[in-house]
Symmetry: C2
Subunit: 224 residues, 2 copies
């Protein structure tokens, strides 16, 4: 029995090569997927009338594809629809903030973070099975286990929802971890220095006012 070969990294391109601190960049498929899978909100950039637009939106990952969705009447979805077969040039970015890095010098203040930047073209999904799988992935991304525990979209709801697909091809991760990088001559300064960890926290679930009394909290919600 031989171990499975690790998946090939993403191809590095000019625009996925940072201009500085290159050692923070990664093209490793598992690193990229892990960062994407730990979040569910991305910032989607597109160009409208020559100017950039950046909107927060939910996403879902299925293998090497990401999906975002919206009303068929929303701006990015209509823009993508007009783009047709060529697709709409987008940049999709996901960021986790992991810590504030408080250095003794203002200059060396920093952030611990993990981010993924995806460049590519987004295409409207028209095939119903792919559309339904994408919507399931969007629900699962934020709350794993939920897609099987809710009513699927009706035909009318499906028709009112536009889904965009973006392939993971030109993609990179960037990660900063660790402590403070002060200059040696600053180490004796009196200022407190260190890292303050940051992470999202979930509060106590608030049941809907119309929820039937006694409806148990699902294990997948309690596990968040």
């Amino acid at each position: 029995m031989t171990a499975a070969a690790p998946p090939a990294p993403y191809e590095q391109t000019e625009r996925t090569t940072p201009t500085r601190i290159r050692e923070r960049a990664s093209y490793d498929r598992e690193v990229v997927h892990a960062i994407l899978d730990a979040a569910y909100v991305c910032h989607l950039g597109f160009v409208r009338d020559g100017a950039p637009v950046v909107l927060p939106t939910l996403y879902g990952r299925v293998g090497d594809r990401l999906y975002v969705h919206g009303s068929t009447g929303s701006r990015p979805l209509r823009t993508a629809g007009r783009a047709g077969d060529a697709g709409m040039p987008v940049c999709l970015t996901v960021t986790h903030v992991d810590g504030l890095v408080l250095a003794r010098s203002a200059f060396h203040h920093s952030l611990n973070y993990r981010s993924v930047v995806v460049h590519g073209s987004a295409f409207q999904v028209t095939e119903e099975a792919e559309k339904r799988a994408a919507l399931d992935a969007l629900v699962e991304q934020a709350t794993p286990g939920r897609a099987a525990d809710c009513r699927p979209a009706s035909a009318k709801e499906l028709a009112a929802t536009a889904v965009l697909r973006l392939d993971l091809a030109e993609v990179s991760a960037k990660v900063r971890t660790g402590g403070v990088n002060d200059e040696p001559e600053d180490l004796a300064l009196p200022h407190w220095s260190g890292v303050v960890p940051v992470a999202p926290a979930y509060g106590t679930p608030i049941p809907d006012k119309d929820l039937a009394p006694g409806t148990p909290l699902p294990a997948y919600v309690a596990a968040l």
Copy 2:
């Protein structure tokens, strides 16, 4: 004594008018400032070779101006430098995730959030006093109280740092709060339904390995 007049709202424009769910949008200056002041990481979009680029970066607010910074060698800063007097068209977006909204129907799943989207042109800051004030604001944005408790940038560090200014003029907030909006005919479905609150949480500060023993944790760090 008369109460001060509330500040005028931001002017609504075609691109700050949502195509749908317009009741979630706000142009109220205090609403916009409060959302900006509760965060310190934004997603900055710009256009490079006709394609969008979205990068996470720190920001600071001073009145009706936002500042971002970076190495003079970094891509957005170099692009802005080339843009010169015309400025670089950007879109700067700040998002807080406040809760997962788990509806009985997949379609009505949503997110509670607060976001601000700023459209405009970014300009390089060249005047030293404004540059220093901007860098202070960047440090203060993430850790209020810190700018006065660290070594300010040296002349060399200042020269290596580029700062961009973006005026808050064409800007809108978008906020979703509250509970689940299921269809009346779905209320009897057996699925648990409600909101799971989400908020960033700070962990126990980790002192730098070279910190002099006995250095007290500053009150402004403990207060995070």
